[in-house]
């Protein structure tokens, strides 16, 4: 048995993740589509992981500089995205609920 090309494993993960995303997102209530967009902004900021590796593990100044910039840009989304989602969700109250 030969070992499987890692790219193929990545493709498998990709296809399954798109499948999960498709089904989960169709279940999101239309009333919360704006918070959905804000929270996906925060989630796509997961690229911060790549930027951290660049900032922390590269030895050349170009790689480090771009890494730090990438970390800063992604952090805007991590904090901005989750906090603004929180703020919006706090507004959705039931009738007679606490103000």
């Amino acid at each position: 048995m030969h070992s499987i090309d890692p790219t193929l494993i990545n493709v498998i993960i990709f296809v399954l993740a798109v499948y999960v995303g498709y089904h989960v997102v169709w279940n999101v209530t239309p009333a919360l589509h704006t918070p959905l967009m804000a929270v996906t902004n925060a989630i796509s900021a997961i690229v911060i992981v790549g930027a951290m590796l660049a900032a922390g593990l590269t030895h050349n100044p170009v790689g480090q500089a771009f890494g730090v910039l990438g970390v800063a840009l992604a952090s805007v989304n991590v904090f901005g995205g989750f906090l603004v989602t929180q703020r919006m969700l706090d507004m959705f109250r039931k009738k007679g609920g606490a103000k």
């Binding site: 995303g21 999101v28 009333a31 704006t34 796509s44 970390v71 959705f92």
Partner: protein
């Protein structure tokens, strides 16, 4: 360093992100979902810190750089999240898409300078395997297009910059599609050259063309189509993240990116369907030109029945059920709070009050729901189009504020209409229709609206906020 443990932590983070989206199926579970999202991000970041600490001798400097980036970016993000007005959410979202795109480009650049740092090659080896080069090339170009396209979308949405490219009116020129196609071919050519040679020149040229293409793709799209564009760029930012995940062979990035990518794609589809537009015609940018032609065609002034806010209040006071249709004009007039007060007064008189939301009532998917929620309208009074359309027939009064095309019966009755087939709110089926507008000006699509000329329709002209306040006074 135990890489299996790291991978397990990344798996936990990925599951948290799925939970974050799953929570949004209901306002009750949504806040818990958001907490899952935050937890997932914290796990991912802390795990990566431990990776950096373990793989690098004397990691203090690198980690200090990371911390500096997080502090600066995080402070800006937190401030934006706290200060932004809800009417400006589309701009904020567009701005955040652009940041993801740019970050993806930066990471790709760093990866090309030193692939070994990302585990793409072994230490000291700068020759990237060709498979990874293809992935870097795709990640970079999607990131670059997302960045420049989102900047243009941001400008168009905010509408306060005078630069021509940031205007809501489409920018078109002869041979636009051929220019775009030509640039795309050159861009892919440079990408192939990069894959073959791994040299900087084709990489930089490719990135520059991708940035230019991002601008060129968005400028011909009119202001009315922005909800589709924002959703589409949302999708692109996810694919950019997934592309970087492929380049770095990191399953968590692939999963998170794919979730976001499919989410944006679904929202684009929903927005297109609600506007009766095919995705490709929005992207190829024909809508603006079409609507200009249609508005020029509308002609003679026809008589309408108009009344005062007090007349409208009298009709509502005698109703058993009222359905309110808020459009973006309501938000422009900042009248959501006044509307909620009016609705409460009607409710206190024993009248059943509900809100009917068209998917494109705001400037982005779900925007109107957030604007109403901000005004403390309870969400169980707010219904989506499909839920409430059947109930207009039993409603005594349909009360329409600043909405036009989304209640235009021509979409159902007139096959020749440019909006024929567009899903609408069936406000015309209510026993009485009250419409507030500032004037008889046409809507986005530039069409006459038969609803305004019906016998059972009463127009109340004036600023929405003033009119609603007068109605509320008269209801007492």
């Amino acid at each position: 360093m135990n890489m299996s443990l790291v991978t397990m932590c990344y798996l936990v983070a990925s599951v948290c992100f799925i939970q974050a989206l799953k929570g949004l199926s209901n306002p009750r579970s949504a806040r818990l979902g958001n907490a899952f999202g935050m937890a997932g991000m914290a796990i991912a970041v802390l795990t990566t810190v431990s990776v950096v600490a373990a793989l690098r001798e004397a990691p203090e400097r690198g980690l200090a750089l990371v911390a500096a980036g997080v502090v600066v970016g995080g402070a800006i993000g937190a401030l934006l999240a706290k200060k932004v007005e809800m009417t400006k959410m589309p701009e904020l979202v567009a701005a955040m898409h652009s940041l993801i795109g740019l970050a993806a480009v930066f990471i790709a650049v760093a990866a090309v300078t030193e692939p070994a740092a990302f585990g793409i090659t072994v230490t000291g080896d700068y020759v990237i395997p060709s498979g990874n080069r293809i992935e870097l090339f795709i990640g970079t170009l999607v990131g670059a297009i997302t960045f420049s396209g989102s900047v243009i979308a941001f400008g168009k949405l905010s509408g306060k910059y005078r630069l021509r490219l940031f205007q809501g009116t489409p920018v078109t020129f002869r041979g636009q599609h051929f220019v775009n196609l030509g640039l795309a071919v050159v861009m892919v050519g440079c990408g192939i050259a990069f894959v073959v040679t791994q040299s900087w020149v084709p990489f930089i040229v490719m990135t520059a063309i991708a940035l230019l293409l991002g601008i060129l793709i968005i400028i011909p799209i009119g202001g009315a189509d922005m909800p589709v564009v924002v959703s589409m760029l949302n999708s692109y930012s996810g694919w950019a993240a997934a592309g970087i995940g492929f380049s770095l062979s990191n399953p968590m990035l692939i999963i998170a990116g794919s979730l976001v990518g499919s989410s944006g794609a679904i929202l684009s589809y929903i927005m297109c369907r609600a506007m009766n537009r095919s995705f490709f015609s929005v992207i190829l940018g024909g809508f603006g030109a079409q609507s200009a032609a249609a508005s020029a065609g509308s002609g003679v002034a026809r008589p309408v029945k108009s009344g005062s806010a007090a007349d409208a209040a009298f009709l509502m006071s005698n109703a058993e059920s009222v359905i309110i249709v808020p459009g973006y004009g309501l938000a422009v007039a900042r009248a959501q709070h006044a509307l909620k007060e009016l609705a409460e007064k009607l409710h206190d008189k024993g009248i059943k009050v509900r809100y009917a939301i068209h998917p494109v009532a705001g400037r982005m998917p779900g925007h109107m729901n957030v604007l109403l929620a901000e005004a403390e309208v309870p969400y169980d009074q707010v219904s989506e189009m499909d839920e409430i359309n059947g109930e207009f027939g039993q409603a005594d009064v349909a009360l329409i504020f600043g909405a036009n095309d989304v209640v235009n019966p021509a979409a159902k009755n007139d096959p020749a209409s440019p909006i024929a087939g567009m899903p609408i709110l069936d406000a015309y089926r209510a026993k009485t229709v009250i419409v507030n507008k500032r004037s008889m000006a046409a809507g986005y699509a530039g069409l006459e609206n038969e609803l305004f000329y019906m016998d059972k329709t009463m127009m109340v002209f004036g600023d929405a906020k003033k009119v609603i306040e007068d109605m509320a006074k008269a209801v007492e």
